[in-house]
Structures are given as C-alpha cells and as structure tokens.
C-alpha cells in the first residue's frame, strides 16, 4: 500500500510541475513522468494490458508534443507576468468548483465499495465463462474483442477520426483561391 501512496504523491507533484513550469519542453517531460507513473500504477493494479498500452501511448504522446514544440516555441510567455483583474474570475471559479467537486467526490467515494473489494456483478460471469465461451486465455482480450467488441470498433474509429481530423486541420490552404 505504501508504494501506492508514494507513487501518487510523485504523480501529483509531477503534474503540478508540468502545469507550472516555464519551459514547455520540461513541462512535457514532467507530463511523461506522470504517464509512466500511471503505467507503474497499472502494473501494481494487476493490469499488464493497460501498462503495455499506457507505456507505448505515453511515449508516442511525448513524441507528438515534442514535435509540436520543436516547430513552435519552448517558452511559456504567459507565466510570470503577475495577475491582473481579468484573472480573478477563472481562479475564483476554479476554487469554487474544486471545493464543490472535492466535497461531492469524497462523499461519493465514501459510499462506494471500499478499495480492493469490487462488486464484480457482470465481471464474475466473464471470469467464469470467458475461456469456455470465447477461448481466449487473456480475459481482457476476450472482453474487448468479443463481449464488447463493438466498443473496440468505436475506439478504432475514434483513432481513425482523429487521424483524418489532424490531416484536415494541417492542410496548407483551406479554401480554393
């Protein structure tokens, strides 16, 4: 359990660094640290599939971020110029929102089943019958490609959509002259 706490503290700290640091490249590296923290967390949560995907996706996300930053600028010129009157509303709004969110979230979490004892109403069916009905040793694969294969079609389509979207936004000229 201690490892969980240490990792979480590390991740929150790295997240704050990522948000507050002036150099954007360093911010992206901190974001990468959070991502790898999440991957380690997935291993500790007994989710090797997720850890795999998280590590690879994390690397790719950092590559994408770095590609964009190298083509634009390193520096976050908006930091360190002090607060003006216009900044009060978002900060106040965020504080109000954060208080409400934490209050409701903590109250909700207390009434959830405790950590480490999931209900597993539907999932116990998958565990009992997954191998027999689907024939896959990896139950996560059985769920994503058979029991909920339609979700995976949707997920692949989201990726397809975002590729077409990226290519569409990166066109040189929007309108014909």
């Amino acid at each position: 359990m201690q490892a969980f706490y240490m990792l979480l503290v590390f991740m929150v700290a790295a997240g704050i660094v990522a948000v507050e640091i002036k150099d954007l490249l360093a911010a992206v590296i901190s974001l990468g640290a959070v991502g790898f923290g999440v991957a380690i967390m997935f291993i500790m949560l007994q989710a090797p599939d997720l850890a795999f995907v998280q590590i690879v996706i994390e690397i790719l996300a950092v590559v994408f971020f770095v590609a964009v930053i190298l083509k634009t600028t390193h520096e976050d010129e908006t930091l360190g110029r002090g607060y003006t009157k216009d900044d009060i509303i978002p900060i106040l709004g965020f504080s109000l929102f954060a208080l409400m969110f934490l209050y409701l979230g903590i109250k909700a979490m207390i009434s959830l089943p405790s950590f480490g004892n999931p209900l597993m109403k539907v999932a116990s069916y998958y565990i009992e019958n997954g191998l027999k009905e689907v024939g896959a040793g990896n139950l996560v694969a059985a769920v994503i490609l058979d029991y909920r294969g339609y979700d995976t079609l949707g997920e692949a389509t989201v990726l397809f959509t975002s590729v077409i979207g990226v290519l569409a936004i990166l066109r040189k000229e929007g309108r014909k002259k």
């Binding site: 359990m1 706490y5 979480l8 503290v9 991740m11 929150v12 997240g15 990522a18 948000v19 911010a27 992206v28 974001l31 959070v34 999440v38 997935f42 949560l45 007994q46 989710a47 599939d49 997720l50 996706i57 790719l60 996300a61 994408f64 971020f65 964009v68 083509k71 634009t72 976050d76 010129e77 908006t78 900060i91 709004g93 965020f94 929102f97 954060a98 969110f101 934490l102 903590i106 979490m109 950590f115 480490g116 999931p118 597993m120 999932a123 998958y126 565990i127 990896n138 139950l139 769920v143 994503i144 909920r148 979700d151 949707g154 997920e155 989201v158 990726l159 975002s162 990226v166 990166l170």
Partner: protein, 112 residues
C-alpha cells in the same frame, strides 16, 4: 480510499490547468493530465486485493482474478485520449502558425 482521492486530486490539477492557464500548450497538457487521472481512477475501481491479472495460463485456472471489465474500458479510454490529444495538438500547431503566439489573451476569440 485515500488512493482514489489521490487520483481525484490529479483530476483537479488538470482542471486547474485548463481553467486558469493562458497558454494553449498548457491547456493541452492539462487535458492529458485529466485523462490519465480518470483512467487511473477507473482502473482502481476493478482492483481486488490478493488477486492476479486476468490472464488464464493453465486449465483449470488456479487463481483469483481482478475485474477484467474496467481494464477493457480503460484500454478504450486511453486510445481515445491519445486521439483527442493529437487533434488538439494539431489545432495548437496551426494556431501558432497563424498567430505566432500561444497566449490566449492575444487570440481574438478564445476569451470567455
């Protein structure tokens, strides 16, 4: 319980970046943080003490398994997150290309 609270805090860090930061890239980073945090929270939901990863290696299976369903859902959510981050980065790249700044105060329409 405290563990889940940690990931909620990480969600808040992301929202903080999205709502109060003035830099386009910082907003994108905030979204990435928020996605990680929600994925983590979702994966924690399925954890079971003393159980192992839901992969059957011998018949009949010997062990007690953790919940495989949240893992499948988080897998989907991670890939969706990467897709949206990529589209956002493309927007950021083109905005810089057109205006030579990441500062949303200097962009005309992004206020409010």
């Amino acid at each position: 319980m405290v563990v889940v609270l940690g990931s909620l805090l990480l969600v808040l860090v992301g929202i903080y970046a999205i709502l109060t930061k003035k830099n386009v890239m910082k907003i994108v980073i905030g979204f990435a943080l928020m996605e990680y945090a929600i994925n983590l929270l979702f994966a924690m939901v399925g954890f079971k003490k003393g159980a192992v990863a839901p992969i059957i290696t011998s018949i009949p299976p010997k062990h007690n398994f953790v919940d495989p369903l949240p893992q499948a859902l988080v897998l989907t959510a991670i890939v969706i997150g990467l897709g949206t981050t990529a589209v956002m980065l493309a927007f950021a790249l083109r905005i810089y290309d057109k205006t030579k700044t990441f500062d949303i105060d200097k962009l005309r329409r992004l206020k409010g």
